[in-house]
Amino acid sequence: MTARRLDIANLTVRARGGARAPLVAGIDLSLSSGEVLALVGASGSGKSMTCAGALDVLPPGTWRETGTLLVDGEPCQPKTVRGRKVATILQAPRSAFNPVLTMRRHAEETLKALGFPKPRWDAIIASAMADAGLGEPDRILALHPFEMSGGMLQRMMIALALMSEAPFLFADEPTTDLDLIVQSEILDCLDRLRKERGLGILLVTHDMGVVARLADRVAVMEAGRIVETGGIDRMFHEPAHPVTRRLVDAHLSLYAPDVAP
């Protein structure tokens, strides 16, 4: 039975150095399958630390003080969840790949780690790559990262995430640094996966345009806390918290007055 709901409960992350305020302070988030929850906020507000803290992959010098991860209401060890129930894609796909390995080796490494039987590998790779919008899998599997564009690499990262058959995806700034055309292709791809595979996506971004395109709900972070959560329409039309209002106003000021409310 596929998991339908993921909860992050009371997550607190601290950095070494004593009295300083926690990087993430008692956060609660819940994500359902087929839903896109956007986690937004300024850089340094703790968005990425929330993802890393939930999955217990925090950088050195930081640690999880409190926090529970629940799958369908059952508390789980993060190490049994990451890569199996929750796949992750990151910003800057170029630095996320091993430069000396082909895409096939990356895919095989993932499948081996997940313990899929070898006879199934080709079928899993083919279906994941097709769902990530990568045609000609044989040609692409032979390539090294430097032979691929940023958009292709990000699609390959999505394909690797899909191979896990995890019901949830943490997407940390998945389209930052990609040009707008590639960005909209990647967002279309994530939208399709949410609809077709019922993927539940936690989308970390600072771009409210990405949020407007894809999200169902929005959680706004500032200084390690969630200051406002709500449905996408209310957050854009009636933002309650000053931080939300500032994000929406800054975003709308980029558009000509004809599309602003």
Binding site: S43, L180, I181, D207, L247, L252, S253, L254, V259
Partner: protein, 270 residues
Amino acid sequence: MSLLAADAVSRAYETGMGWGERQKTRVLDAVSVSIEAGETVGLLGRSGCGKSTLARLLVGLERPDAGCVRFEGRPLDELSKAERLAFRRSVQMVFQDSLGAVDPRSTVRAILAEPLRHLLKLSKSEREPAIADLLRRVGLEPRDADKLPGQMSGGQLQRVCIARALAPQPKLIVLDEAVSNLDLHLQIQMLDLFEHLRRETGLAYLFVTHDLRLVERFASRVLVMDEGRVCEEAAVSRPLALASPAGRALGAAVLPAMPGATRRPARAAG
């Protein structure tokens, strides 16, 4: 006479691995562009269209294979020593990758002192207040001067790079995706600062980006590049309606302002 102009410049890079089988990939094909004093020109295009190469040629970081770049009417190759100093002072550039654009072992003070010393010939006692002033202008604190690049966030460091470009009181700043890594409210704060300086001092900008929204907000004229050529030149209107296929594709890819609409209404019609 234009402040800075490229006259049918072409540039090719060698590609290919290992020995033998090298080939030349042409990234710019007889591109011409001119920037007048006090003007903001947007240079818009997808990744890989050659816009950064054009920017590098314009500031003299690379030389064109064919064609020439002129500063105040004079080809860069023919500038005298004094003219070259004036060119270096007048034309500044801000890069996308701020961490790669500074010496990681220099303090912010040393980073900002360099142009003040070499291009403005300020003495040590004159430099300190100038550094504090530059930091305040970009929304940082004078005490940030003691920090090293690694101690700052990407957004703070990019503002140091912008302050460094402003330091020699230039006539033109080339901004190569210089604000795209910043949070949106910082992007807008920087664009407002640039606009303020343009009004106050007549500074001109070449604004290199793939984001049509920023061009629309900030530039008065736009050049659209595709596969090493300028395929469209237009005055910026709001909303910006581009005619070339490359320009229209960039317009169609702009993210929606509000949820519900998958495309901006104004673009879907265009």
